[in-house]
């Protein structure tokens, strides 16, 4: 599948070769390559977790690669600090750049590298003059002396771009630059990209949106699971081809999905809305069903689930449990109604570190283990023992601090905690993210068993093999809305990705 690298018109200004980066337990990048050419836009394409953010951090000197070479103008170099990357002319425009509201536009642009007078003080006049030049260069008509808090979001974005360009940039990284912009602002950003190209800057453009990539990129590079897949010229690329390379892997992992009898509706959600996070969410979940929710990070899946669990309140909409309409205003009400939620952020939302394992398990079930409000430790240990054993927890003792367990075992404690409440609906948000293979299999096996028992299961996952391997039905969300729903043979990797990134038209 590897395309031959197209003949470059000129040598790359920056190249990465055989970059390896390992974090504890994860190999984020496994020998990737990337070439950026002057005056050209290279689109970096990949699913969540493909290694795109890691490569940006290596390019900007925030992370150091374990192995591999960074080559600038044919010379091998290193970016030990963010300053070093800046000095080499690499700059990044992030999704959310940190700006300082109380400072002026010019101060924001030059923070950390303001021009100095010969006395070593900040040369305000030079700073304003150069700020004006940079702003003019990107077509922004802003007063360098204006305070940032008085500006609108679009203007702030321009300041962020000006800041990125204030160093003498030769390589500009744009990480999902359009995520927070309106149509008009996106059009302006495209113009800016054209300007930068004309100035001979090499641009790395990271986006999930195919229409944008086809609109402005000259070249493409696909990463998958931290590995380089292929690269080529945009003119020769097709959407279908890129999607196939993004998804790539065959769904060959064995998932222990057992056929379950789909029962009557357990939960009907009608027209759930939230002012900022999601809109018009309508779906039905049945007993015995595993309903997968796929989408890109930020599509609003977790937010919908947290609204169902009573963490946030929907601004509109209703939900029915079985045949009663229920309004869920708090997590306590959700648990009482039999809805439980295994959160994605285990450390912050899942386990109470500092409390022992058994107390974590019994936390929502205290009413059952206690008598007249008084604790009964024997009952608690019995309940904790039952459910942790069922999930095959590995721990020294039930009295051990839950924070000492591995991620996978912490996840088992969270799941045990909820199963002990005997729920009707269990929502699992990225249930196997960042946990070891063994625990993964245990969690999958258990999900399947739960569905077979007649529980209704919602599984939010960004891993396509997991979604396809475990779900009876898949809902795809994009930008806070339900984009598509797939069952049976329509549940293909291509269909899911198309719906998630917003490619119109029939499946390939």
């Amino acid at each position: 599948m590897q395309a031959t690298p197209p003949a470059a018109d000129g040598a790359p200004v920056l190249s990465l070769r055989d970059i390896v980066k390992t974090f504890p337990g994860v190999r984020a990048l496994n020998g990737v390559r990337l070439d950026l050419f002057p005056g050209q836009v290279t689109a970096l394409i990949g699913e969540n977790g493909a290694g795109k953010s890691t490569i940006v951090k290596i390019l900007t000197g925030i992370h150091q690669p374990d192995e591999g070479r960074i080559i600038v103008d044919g010379t091998e170099t290193r970016f030990p600090t963010a300053q070093a990357a800046g000095a080499a002319g690499v700059t990044a425009i992030h999704q959310e750049t940190v700006l300082f509201d109380e400072m002026t536009v010019a101060e924001n642009i030059f923070i950390g590298h303001a021009p100095r007078t010969r006395w070593g003080l900040i040369d305000r006049r030079a700073m304003r003059r150069r700020a004006k030049e940079i702003l003019a260069g990107i077509g922004a008509d802003l007063n360098p002396a204006a305070r940032l808090r008085d500006l609108g979001i679009a203007s702030k974005h321009l300041v962020a771009i000006a800041r990125a360009l204030s160093i003498d940039a030769r390589v500009v990284i744009m990480d999902e630059p359009t995520a927070a912009l309106s149509h008009k602002e996106i059009a302006e950003l495209y113009e800016l990209v054209e300007k930068l190209k004309a100035q001979g800057k090499a641009i790395l453009f990271i986006s999930h949106k195919f229409d944008e990539i086809f609109r402005i990129a000259d070249r493409w590079t696909v990463f998958r699971d931290g590995a380089f897949v292929a690269e080529g010229l945009m003119a020769e690329a097709t959407e279908a081809g890129l999607v196939r390379m993004m998804v790539g892997r065959s769904v060959d992992q064995i998932y222990p999905k057992r056929p379950a009898r789909i029962g009557p509706p357990a939960l009907t959600v009608a027209g759930y809305c939230h002012p900022t996070e999601f809109e018009d969410i309508t779906f039905t979940l049945h007993q015995g069903e595993i309903l997968g929710f796929y989408g890109l990070v930020g599509a609003g899946r977790s937010e919908v689930m947290q609204a169902l669990f009573g963490i946030t309140r929907p601004s509109k909409g209703a939900c029915r449990l079985g045949d009663q309409v229920r309004v869920i205003r708090s997590t306590a009400q959700a648990v009482a109604a039999g809805i439980v939620y295994v959160p994605e952020d285990r450390g912050r939302q899942g386990t109470v570190k500092g409390l022992p394992i058994f107390q974590n398990v019994t936390l929502p079930s205290l009413a059952r283990t206690s008598r007249a409000g008084f604790l009964r430790l024997a009952e608690e240990f019995a309940l904790a023992r039952e459910y942790t054993q069922r999930l095959d927890l590995r721990a020294a003792s039930l009295d051990q601090d839950v924070g000492l367990l591995s991620g996978g075992n912490q996840q088992k404690v969270v799941i045990a905690k909820w199963l002990a409440t005997k729920p009707r609906i269990i929502i699992l948000d990225e249930p196997t993210k960042g946990i070891d293979i063994g625990s993964k299999a245990a969690v999958h096996d258990f999900m399947s068993e739960l569905a077979a028992q007649g529980l209704a299961v919602i599984m939010v996952s960004s891993e396509i093999p997991e979604v396809l391997g475990m779900s009876d039905r898949v809902i795809v969300m994009r930008e806070g809305r339900i984009a598509a729903e797939f069952t049976g043979d329509d549940m293909t990797p291509e269909n899911l990705v198309r719906a998630a990134v917003g490619i119109e038209g029939a499946a390939a």
Binding site: F374, A396, L398
Partner: protein, 339 residues
Amino acid sequence: MSPHDSRLPDHPTTAGRHIPDRLTSPAARALKSWEALLLVVAIAIFIMNAMASPWFLDPWSLSDATFNFTEKAMIAFAMAMLIVAGEIDLSVGAIIALASTVMGVAMSAGAPVPVLVLLGLGTGLACGAFNGLLVARFGLPSIVVTIGTMSLFRGISYIVLGDGAFTGYPAGFAWFGQGYVFWVVTVELVIFALAALAFGILLHRTNFGRMVYAIGNNATAARFSGIRVDRIRFILFLLTGLMSGVAAICLTSRLGSTRPSIASGFELEVVTIVVLGGVSILGGSGTIPGVVLAALVMGLVTFGLGLMNVPGIVMSIVVGALLIGVIALPRLLAMARGR
């Protein structure tokens, strides 16, 4: 249960390994605890005091010594639960001032003793409810809220009293702060002991106490576990207000008068007792027995220094040094061991 209920099978499908409940017994744990250390410190100070002053071991002087801590310790029990939950109330001294002022106004109007007591408790509850509402309902940080209400409550008391004072409480009212239940056992000491028992049971033996620990260790995860975090926070402020009301009754009765400066600086002494008792100022850990021992240590130290005619300002230096020393000790030991 409804027909929609689905239950898990009674037999486990995966043969889980057996995990022991505990590896160390609760007794072994207690022996190595902070509380054990405090007990040693308390005994040591007791012996030092006995050797330093021939009057120390007299039952009546020991009885007098208890007034050094009983009122503060009553509040410290409620404060300990609040701090375990990750909150704090710095307005407790001001609540005493306001409650005492309210009782003074009622006393001037000729209210009988039971009414004075109800007003003292009621004012404490109302102040606690106000703090709790601002923290739990509006999500404001408790340290800011209670610094504000500290000025607010005491300010009201200054407006009512100015330079003046309420004196002339009825004879029956003196029982709370000056009375004895039996021999040298004061009423305040009995209230202290009952409060210690009640809060000890509440924090260590009930679901409520367990949830307090959960909130203090990770409020977000507690909420994600179906706990009504805000409700529990509100109740804790209510309890702290109530105990401040009880302390206001005892203190006003003992002094026999109300001035707007009554109980000033109490909040820091209460927090000192709580922290000395081994309650983490970051929340999540600590015990009521620890707070009881810390109150005894504080009482013994100040009384001992008083017997030796040490001036008040030196006394506060000693108490400060004691606090920092005891807090630093475990960390110093850990560092020494780490080497």
